[in-house]
């Protein structure tokens, strides 16, 4: 009798212990790919980002080790309140652990607050605002692919050093346009160049001829385009029409994606300088990934740097989870682990995540090929210069992130 009771107690204790163990080694993960699925950014993020997330899950090898990982996707429609409501609902109802992508700075910052409140993990790849790792940084956020500071520095520095010492800006009248112009101006003046003027245009302008004429008459050597998306492609197209490039002035697009170059066509885009942190045709590893991506993506598109960032960020996240031995469902803890491990992946190479959440890796200055140099439907870029990881991004001494002041 006594034995039976103690056996029972022992049994109960063992069940409890194993339950506790299971809790510590919870191997379920839910990923939310929150992006613009139908608007301006749907080509560079959107369904392609969801695909990149799925590929990251498959390639991580965790499924074979008994992990259960789901990917769900959502459309924030470029509206901050829709984005934050979806994010909140994902945490509260769907029990999402990590949100990835989120292009559009306004939405990205709104979602940033929700994730901090819910102690989730945020791997942002799509947004440009450097605020995510500065004034509004959180212990839950990793900003992967690029930001305004990096774009401004890499492109600005390289062009001034190669003789482009006088600039004129076409700037989108938006916070991120102003940030790009401000950061680039700082680099230009620091390197001995000067800014002759700038003009702010409203978002979604279809005609740039007036602005281009002003840029033309400024006689600046470089016309910096501090805008994005349709505004950038239209200004490049119309600059060609007004003979700006053939007249000796050079265009520098501060934010340009692979999909934009595809949209403009090489005829018009040739000779453009700009910075990205990923290009599909860099080396064998990126080519192998991109080939697999292209087989499954819509219209067989190659991955943009944003989509590549979703993939690489998640791969690193999985490595951190594996090192933790399970998913603690504790955002701060996971992000701390991510920051403590150096990053290395097929797409962005070696790097690290700084204490403010900024993932650093090399940045590349590209030039768009001439149509005669292009050998395939996505063969667009040639590499001009590489900026090493530790010089490409905001130095920690300049970061305004409160996490650094501990």
């Amino acid at each position: 009798m006594k034995n039976r009771i103690s056996a029972l107690l022992l049994g109960t204790a063992m069940t409890l212990a194993s339950a506790g163990l299971a809790l510590a080694q919870d191997k379920t993960v839910k990923i939310g790919a929150l992006s613009d699925q139908s608007g301006l950014y749907s080509d560079l993020g959107g369904p392609g980002s969801t695909l990149a997330a799925q590929m990251a899950v498959e390639d991580s090898g965790l499924l074979a080790k008994g992990w259960k990982i789901d990917v769900i996707s959502g459309d924030h429609q470029n509206k901050p309140d829709i984005g934050s409501t979806i994010a909140r609902q994902w945490f509260d109802v769907d029990k999402v652990d990590v949100i990835v992508d989120v292009p559009n700075s306004g939405v990205a910052l709104a979602v940033n607050n929700v994730i901090k409140e819910k102690n989730g993990v945020y791997i942002n790849s799509g947004a440009a605002t450097s605020d995510l790792t500065n004034a509004q940084c959180t212990p839950n956020t990793v900003h992967w692919t690029y930001d305004t500071y990096m774009l401004a520095h890499s492109t600005g520095q390289a062009l001034v050093k190669s003789g482009g010492d006088s600039w004129f800006f076409l700037t989108a009248d938006y916070a991120f346009g102003a940030a790009l112009e401000r950061d680039t101006t700082a680099v230009i003046t620091a390197n001995g160049g000067k800014v002759l003027g700038s003009v702010k245009h409203p978002l979604n302008t279809s005609d740039f001829s007036s602005f281009l004429l002003q840029a033309q008459s400024s006689k600046a050597k470089i016309i910096g385009l501090a805008n994005a998306g349709g505004d950038t492609t239209n200004s490049i197209k119309q600059a060609a029409e007004f003979g700006i490039v053939s007249g000796g002035q050079k265009l520098a697009a501060l934010l340009l994606f692979l999909t934009d170059v595809k949209a403009i066509g090489l005829d018009t885009a040739q000779g453009l300088n700009f910075t990205e942190t990923f290009y599909w045709d860099m080396n064998d590893k990126t080519r192998a990934f991109s080939k697999r991506f292209g087989e499954r993506s819509k219209n067989h598109a190659m991955p943009s740097m944003v989509q590549a960032g979703v993939y690489a960020g998640l791969r690193h996240y999985f490595k951190a989870l594996e090192a933790l031995g399970g998913n603690p469902h504790d955002g701060v803890k996971v992000v701390e682990k991510m920051k403590s491990m150096p990053t290395e992946d097929d797409l962005f190479g070696k790097g690290e995540i700084q204490p403010n959440g900024r993932a650093i890796h090399p940045a590349y200055l590209f030039e768009v090929k001439k149509p005669s140099e292009s050998k395939g439907p996505w063969d667009f870029y040639k590499l001009v210069a590489t900026v090493p990881a530790d010089q490409a991004f905001t130095p920690l001494s300049e970061s305004k992130c409160a996490l650094l002041k501990k």
Binding site: S42, K200, T233
Partner: protein
């Protein structure tokens, strides 16, 4: 001063797009009493049509100028036959809502198949290059746009105000029952008018394809401004919308020079001012 001349000319070029688009809207409003929110989407279809003609069928820009408006015009007539005609006699709001829904569908479908960043379309070889006017470099294509749209605007005005067909049309809007009693097929005329208005939008689309990206949302950004042009000109007034279209282009051009941030807003300032002084627009009749 030279810079100012350049801005005026550039403004005039933009004005020709506004004029063509608002002309189509005015024709449709004048004859069908429908505020056609789908106008931007149909303009976009015109540009896409030119792209397909060139890249799939190998048909060049010049033929696209004729074929695209016809194709999109027929599409518009189908819309009118199947949906819009059921709204005659109802409040403007319903026409607005219906065409808004149609615009969402068209834009959504195009976005699904062609993405959001758009497709390239080159300037035809004959219109490449530019000439130096002394005060500015004028691309030949831009010059062509101004001349061509002026011709189209005048032709449309002539068709509606000066021909037999136009007289029937105008009569049919005033009193459809009476015109029908004369043995004229009024519903068919209305369908054709809608086709004409839509065709004008598609024509503007083809004209803009080499300048702007051919994007699914290219019309969505423009439609609200064109609305404002039509209202300022006086709803339904053909001459009013054409003149306002060109004038707004010029005013916008000047704004782009003096206060560029406000260049998308200046049209609304104008609209408030005009409506305060002249309640039905510059040349409009009562709503």
């Amino acid at each position: 001063m030279q810079a100012l001349y350049a801005q005026l000319l550039v403004g005039l070029i933009n004005g020709s797009f506004y004029a063509l688009l608002s002309l189509g809207l005015a024709v449709i409003f004048g004859m069908l009493n429908i505020i056609n929110f789908a106008h931007g989407a149909l303009y976009m279809m015109g540009a896409f049509c030119a792209y397909f003609l060139l890249n799939i069928a190998g048909i060049n820009y010049w033929w696209a100028l004729i074929i695209a408006p016809i194709v999109v015009g027929i599409f518009g007539m189908i819309l009118e036959r199947t949906m819009l005609q059921w709204l005659s006699g109802l409040d403007h709001v319903y026409g607005l809502l219906l065409t808004f829904g149609i615009a969402l569908i068209i834009q959504g479908v195009f976005q699904n198949y062609f993405g959001s960043s758009g497709l390239p379309y080159q300037i035809p070889d004959a219109l490449r290059g530019g000439m130096n006017l002394g005060f500015m470099f004028l691309p030949v294509y831009r010059g062509w746009v101004v001349v061509f749209s002026l011709v189209i605007c005048v032709a449309t005005w002539f068709l509606i105000e000066k021909t037999q067909l136009g007289a029937y049309l105008r009569a049919a809007t005033e009193n459809p029952t009476l015109v029908r009693a004369f043995g004229i097929n009024v519903p068919r005329m209305i369908t054709l008018t809608y086709g004409l208005g839509v065709g004008l939008a598609a024509l503007a689309g083809v004209l803009s394809a080499p300048i702007n990206q051919v994007r699914p949302l290219m019309g969505a950004d423009l439609i609200i401004v064109v609305f404002a042009v039509v209202v300022i000109g006086g709803m339904g007034s053909i001459m009013g919308s054409v003149i306002t279209g060109f004038a707004l282009g010029v005013i916008e051009g000047l704004t782009k020079y003096f206060y560029p941030e406000a260049s998308n807003t200046v049209v609304f300032v104008l609209m408030v001012l005009v409506l305060l002084v002249k309640p039905t627009g510059l040349t409009g009749r009562a709503a």
